[in-house]
Symmetry: none
Subunit: 203 residues, 4 copies
Amino acid sequence: MSAADATPSRTDKHELILEAAIRVFAQKGFHAARISDVADEAGVADGTIYLYFKNKDDLLLSIFEEKMDLLLAGLREALVGVTDPLEQVRTFARYHFRQVQDHRELAEVLQIELRLSNKFMKEYRPQKLWEYLGKFAEIVRAGQEAGQVRTDIDPFMAMWAFFGAMDEMSMQFILAKHRKFSLDAAADTVSGIFIRGLSKEKP
Amino acid sequence: MSAADATPSRTDKHELILEAAIRVFAQKGFHAARISDVADEAGVADGTIYLYFKNKDDLLLSIFEEKMDLLLAGLREALVGVTDPLEQVRTFARYHFRQVQDHRELAEVLQIELRLSNKFMKEYRPQKLWEYLGKFAEIVRAGQEAGQVRTDIDPFMAMWAFFGAMDEMSMQFILAKHRKFSLDAAADTVSGIFIRGLSKEKP
Amino acid sequence: MSAADATPSRTDKHELILEAAIRVFAQKGFHAARISDVADEAGVADGTIYLYFKNKDDLLLSIFEEKMDLLLAGLREALVGVTDPLEQVRTFARYHFRQVQDHRELAEVLQIELRLSNKFMKEYRPQKLWEYLGKFAEIVRAGQEAGQVRTDIDPFMAMWAFFGAMDEMSMQFILAKHRKFSLDAAADTVSGIFIRGLSKEKP
Amino acid sequence: MSAADATPSRTDKHELILEAAIRVFAQKGFHAARISDVADEAGVADGTIYLYFKNKDDLLLSIFEEKMDLLLAGLREALVGVTDPLEQVRTFARYHFRQVQDHRELAEVLQIELRLSNKFMKEYRPQKLWEYLGKFAEIVRAGQEAGQVRTDIDPFMAMWAFFGAMDEMSMQFILAKHRKFSLDAAADTVSGIFIRGLSKEKP
DNA sequence: AATGAATGAGCTTTCATTCAT
DNA sequence: AATGAATGAAAGCTCATTCAT
């Protein structure tokens, strides 16, 4: 009500429910999770969820959409000041695995549960994911133009390979809850392979 | 029907149902597919499926188990006579993508639908997958011992990265039903990156 | 706004909501209509409706109660000056069908939607309807006493028959949105049949 | 299994469920009745109902369709041997009210509950009802051709008036569970009014 | 008086699985 | 071994109603 209007009292149910859903989906899985589980976790009534999200699927997709925005913004920020394309590859990998580590439940939902939804995999076009990964294709193309990256590799092919490698290692990290698995080492391995694998051979 | 055939007269309903399930799961997705759909496709009664498989999940896992056996056997055969570790990487990649291309419905089930099953991802230990991928770790280790492969890379880390790269590209191939996407090119890209990425730098 | 107006400044939300409800119920049907639809149509908040009506059923019954008052008053006025009982039958029919024609949405609600409510049909005693129809029974009785109407017919039985005939024809008119259906012809048919049907045979 | 195959063991679930539904719908009303109520009444599981009927609406419509067939067949039989059109009117009325009396629960469903369904009233074309009532229009037309029935009345208008009169009286009979209301008297009243109302005035 | 965000009870329908034949 | 009719648990979603502001 003040001029500044920080709206501290507004609980932002949207955010509240979204975060609760991430925790619940990560723990029980999307299909096993009931709407009432999410409602309980968020401390609201079942029906309240439908005031903020169209349905259960929409809740899952909203997690993806909204979190990918943050992920993409963070990636752009992480790449600021890194000019060398091959160094950018390393930065990308480190940033990605750092996010997986820092937001493990979210990662679990995005990596595993999102793939549950046939809607997502087969009907939905993950535009946000393409924007995120597109940065890698740009890096490769820039490296090719700068003469550092071999030109016999298609940037988009390399992009999917890079994403696949990171994704699978993240998956193993998530699944290997009790085994040792260093994401820093994963970042170094992936960037190590791709940096050398993509660079022009020394003459 | 030959004398060598151990079970000549048995129609092998087990196999019949399994193949029907692959087609149905690939087409409709595991969750959307009904047991009665599989039964119809196989030309048997619903109840008959339960004489050969414990439940719907077991049907999915059986597809994985039995097909991975064939895949692994094929891989071993493909690698026969290829002695150079780096060349073995190329052979592996080509073999893998060839299988995806030749058994597209099976690939679709294994790549997408199998991941749907929380049971599979979180509880089940895909021993057969590890055996298959383990070949790659062996190749890397052998290369390291032979002095061709850099030793700062953990063979198992490399294994997951390699699998992830191939898997994601296969996924894109499967999803990109109408776009052009060459699996041969994918094999060359992946092996191109990994062969150079794993090899020792030339002095 | 006039001096005679007892409630000049009051916007009369009650009336506002009632009229909105008639339009909404007629258009979407009572069950399909949401309280929020009525609120939107009336330009008030959902909760406001509950300041004027006990619940959704009460809203429907209030439409009946209040509109039947007007209908009954109009009928009495229409019958003023008509002394011949058989002529009164014709007047009744013409008045009734005229109302259906002039207040089609209201008629739709009263004819179709009101019957939807189990509450209305099985628990509620439609006193107002009986008053309205009672006029017909009175007409018949008066005709019997005057010697114009046959006495082997129970006035109340005749009343229900007369009402049923008019009601069904109104229903057909309402349902037959696109077909030709003249309510004037309906009035003539009904009164034609009942006037002759009720009158004493000519000796 | 015998040659005669009376199939006494076949419980005919379809019929069983239909009859149970009539009882339940009549007692609780269509909307208030739960599928599980019908299942309980029929002594089957909830799911079984869906093996025989598409959904709850279909169950209601099936009652109408199947029972109207019987009603129509019975009407035709009742009219056999009655040649005089005006006498046929009386036969029709008596048959109709007899059915209401003998199948009171069915009548209750058809008269009251069927009208609950917006689907039925607004979308569904009650072909079977038209066939039933069409007999009356035929009777009127035949009477006009034979010179017994006045020609200033449209047979279809008369048909709706006749049906409305009978329907309303049936409704009152059904609603007036505890009051005295003779359906025989109703039949005589309706046919009395319509026979004289439709016949040509004596010269 | 007015609001409208929040509530939570309630129910149809699906479909994996069973078991009498 | 094979059938397929029958089962019944399970849950997403709606919407009339409430009440704190």
